[in-house]
């Protein structure tokens, strides 16, 4: 059945060999790159924080620290700063890291073990309640509700923000936990979050996860987070 091909370009065997070669190399490269990436994406430890080593995915003990998200002039985008005592928000100049603590549910001495347990429960809850089919996390998920990547840093939850005021709580973490347990009691818009039966422990764990997630280095996503205030939307 095989006609004699007249040119290499119409030879099935040439294309079959090329396809095999290309697929093989691409697959091997992907595997090598994956090893490298996995190495860089391991969760950090409390020791890293003590030694002031920056990790892409830090240790869960970051919940003991204040977290910022500021422009890094060298990398050209915003990066999370953990426990930065002197962050100049205008220039983004950071002169210290892993120093300034911040209480999380009244404590800033969560041990590595405790913090890990909290994060573990938080992640399980996030999956069990299917947060990702309304929200985006690290930008992936559904588009029915706000992105949660840096939700911990959202001005709406700060002490002057409307969301914290609405729940009547007097810290960010308490406000978030209160909201999560009864979201349909604290509507901000006609589109509300449903009641997912989140318990107080689950809520605390989820908030811990959100704080931890805000400290992940996402290469500057989302851009300009919370920086542009009072922009005018004339067409609204």
């Amino acid at each position: 059945m095989e006609n004699k091909p007249t040119s290499v370009w119409t030879s099935n065997r040439f294309w079959r060999r090329s396809a095999t070669w290309i697929t093989g190399v691409a697959a091997v490269l992907l595997i090598l790159l994956t090893f490298d990436s996995m190495g860089q994406m391991q969760m950090g430890t409390a020791e890293d924080i003590q030694n002031k080593v920056t990790k892409r995915i830090p240790s869960p003990v970051v919940i003991n620290y204040k977290i910022d998200y500021v422009l890094d002039p060298y990398r050209g985008h915003e990066v999370p700063i953990i426990g930065g005592k002197t962050v100049d928000s205008a220039t983004g100049k950071v002169s210290s890291k892993f120093e300034e603590k911040e209480k999380f549910f009244g404590r800033d001495d969560w041990s590595e073990e405790e913090a890990r347990a909290l994060i573990h429960k938080g992640k399980l809850t996030i999956q069990a309640k299917n947060c990702m089919d309304c929200h985006t996390l690290l930008g992936n998920g559904a588009y029915y509700a706000p992105d949660l990547t840096k939700a911990w840093l959202d001005p709406a939850w700060s002490s002057e923000g409307p969301l914290q005021a609405m729940t009547g709580a007097n810290s960010k973490e308490e406000a978030m936990a209160t909201f999560l347990q009864n979201p349909d009691k604290y509507p901000t818009h006609e589109r509300m979050m449903p009641n997912l039966g989140i318990t107080p422990e689950e809520a605390k764990a989820v908030v811990a996860y959100l704080k931890f997630m805000s400290a992940i280095d996402t290469n500057g996503f989302p851009r300009n987070f919370g920086k542009i205030k009072g922009a005018v939307d004339a067409r609204k």
């Binding site: 290309i22 299917n130 309304c134 029915y144 901000t188 589109r191 997912l196």
Partner: protein, 476 residues
């Protein structure tokens, strides 16, 4: 095809196709619910929330496409290999087990919905990871069923003829099945979690499924146009080279912002930018073959199947190629990531690349079942393809408008905050896009109803005698 006598494997294919079409209907129904909730948020609030509607919508999509894909393989396998499918009894048993499992999973999704935050929920209710939410017990069942399927394919091909199409399919299906394993484990580290999650999602739709489509598309061309096998298989290898060459490392376009190293910017941008190239190739190839066969005065043996194949090549190129490229460079993706952009692209890409070709394969099976030499388009079939295609195109355009607004207002102007999100959602342009999406969704549903009707009746509506030549003109 050989008159009315079908291979047992082909009868099994018909079962898979039937469930596929039913699940397609469920997909559209739940998509409609989710689309209504965008405009009227109180609709089914706290009863069947958006997250549940959306989960059923996208899971039904993935599952029915897999059903149809398995069906199409069982259809063409005995035909290509020239022997009956080995292990068809086992395959039939696997079909019933899978279908029972899918029914249980869907019922649990709809009636149990969510669980407490512990491992048990991931095992029994949902894993809560977009597209592959299926609980772990079902994952394991799926793996078992797929192993049976793979065994049948391999054993059959080894016994019969090894056509180029079958060789490509065998290699591709192994990769496709193996990738599913990458999405089956749990980790606290959300960055690592999403890294492997994309191995499943991206390496499915932008590598292994695309190659699957190229192989099955080649088979449909041979069946509908009598295309030259030698040429079809040469194209197939070119497609494999270009799709895997760009698609495998193109995976990097999902590794821009999830805690991954910066070098993925470059890799993801430039490899995925080449992904549209093979899709243009596929498109050109089909049109070229069509023109060539028409020039020879040959008729199209199955007009609906061929028409849907044309929709697939065009839709694949437009939805995956053009709409994918629009947001694949990191400079743009920084602002479009996590907005309606991926939704606009996802709808046209899934429809264009996969839905259309699966419907084409089903029409081929309908013809084979009735033992018709030629099959023409009916009025209902014509309306079905038009309503569905125009509906999805319009939906994509509407979502793109909303996406622009969201990108500009929420991301550009308001720094991506909670407040910025809701300001953009309330924007007039955004809301109108959502309205048009709902309207076009209704058109798709109408088209679906006609499609089902046509699949059931098309063979009875064929003219008594189809003369050569006339059939070719019919498409015009």
């Amino acid at each position: 095809m050989q008159g009315n006598r079908l291979y047992e494997g082909q009868k099994l294919a018909l079962k898979y196709f039937t469930v596929a079409i039913v699940l397609f209907g469920a997909q559209l129904l739940f998509g409609l619910i989710a689309a209504i909730q965008y405009l009227y948020p109180s609709f089914l609030f706290n009863t069947l929330d958006f997250s549940i509607a959306r989960m059923v919508h996208i899971n039904a999509l993935v599952v029915w496409l897999l059903y149809a894909m398995i069906g199409a393989v069982y259809w063409l396998l005995p035909d290509e290999a020239g022997v009956e499918v080995v292990g068809v009894k086992l395959g039939t048993l696997a079909f019933y087990i899978l279908t029972a499992a899918v029914a249980v999973v869907v019922l649990v999704y709809i009636f149990v919905q969510v669980g407490p935050g512990n491992e048990m929920t991931l095992w029994l209710i949902t894993e809560g990871r977009e597209y592959i939410e299926a609980p772990r017990w079902a994952d394991i069942g799926i793996v078992a069923v797929v192993l049976v399927f793979l065994y049948n394919v391999y054993a059959t091909v080894l016994k019969g003829k090894h056509s180029g199409i079958l060789v490509v399919l065998m290699a591709d299906l192994i990769a496709l099945a193996g990738l599913y394993l990458a999405g089956m484990f749990y980790t606290d580290n959300i960055a690592v979690d999403q890294y492997w999650w994309w191995w499943v999602v991206h390496l499915w739709v932008e590598a292994t499924w695309e190659v699957y489509v190229a192989a099955v598309g080649g088979y449909i061309l041979i069946k509908t146009l009598n295309a030259n096998r030698q040429v079809v298989e040469m194209w197939l290898w070119i497609e494999v080279a270009m799709m895997f060459g760009s698609g495998i490392l193109g995976l990097g376009h999902h590794y821009f912002w999830i805690g991954t190293p910066e070098y993925w910017w470059e890799i993801g941008a430039l490899f995925s930018a080449l992904e549209p190239v093979p899709l243009v190739g596929l498109f050109v190839h089909v049109l070229y073959d069509w023109g060539k066969e028409r020039g020879k005065g040959n008729s199209i043996k199955n007009i609906p199947a061929f028409a849907w194949l044309t929709v697939e090549t065009f839709g694949n190129f437009l939805g995956a190629g053009v709409w994918g490229f629009m947001h694949t460079l990191p400079q743009i993706n920084l602002y479009t990531h996590g907005t309606q952009w991926p939704a606009a692209h996802g709808h046209l890409a899934f429809f264009g690349a996969y839905v259309a070709i699966m419907i084409s394969a089903i029409y081929l099976a309908v013809q084979g079942k009735a033992g018709l030499k030629e099959m023409k388009m009916t009025k209902a079939g014509w309306w079905a393809i038009s309503l569905i295609t125009v509906g999805v195109l319009l939906m994509t355009v509407s979502l793109t408008l909303s996406a622009y607004t969201q990108t500009m207002v929420e991301r550009g102007m308001h720094g991506a905050t909670w407040e910025g999100y809701f300001i953009a959602q309330a924007n007039k342009w955004f809301v109108q896009g959502m309205g048009w999406r709902l309207a076009s969704g209704l058109a798709v549903v109408a088209g679906y109803a006609l499609l089902v009707y046509d699949l059931l009746t098309v063979t009875k509506k064929q003219p008594a005698e189809v003369t050569e030549g006339e059939a070719a003109v019919q498409t015009a």
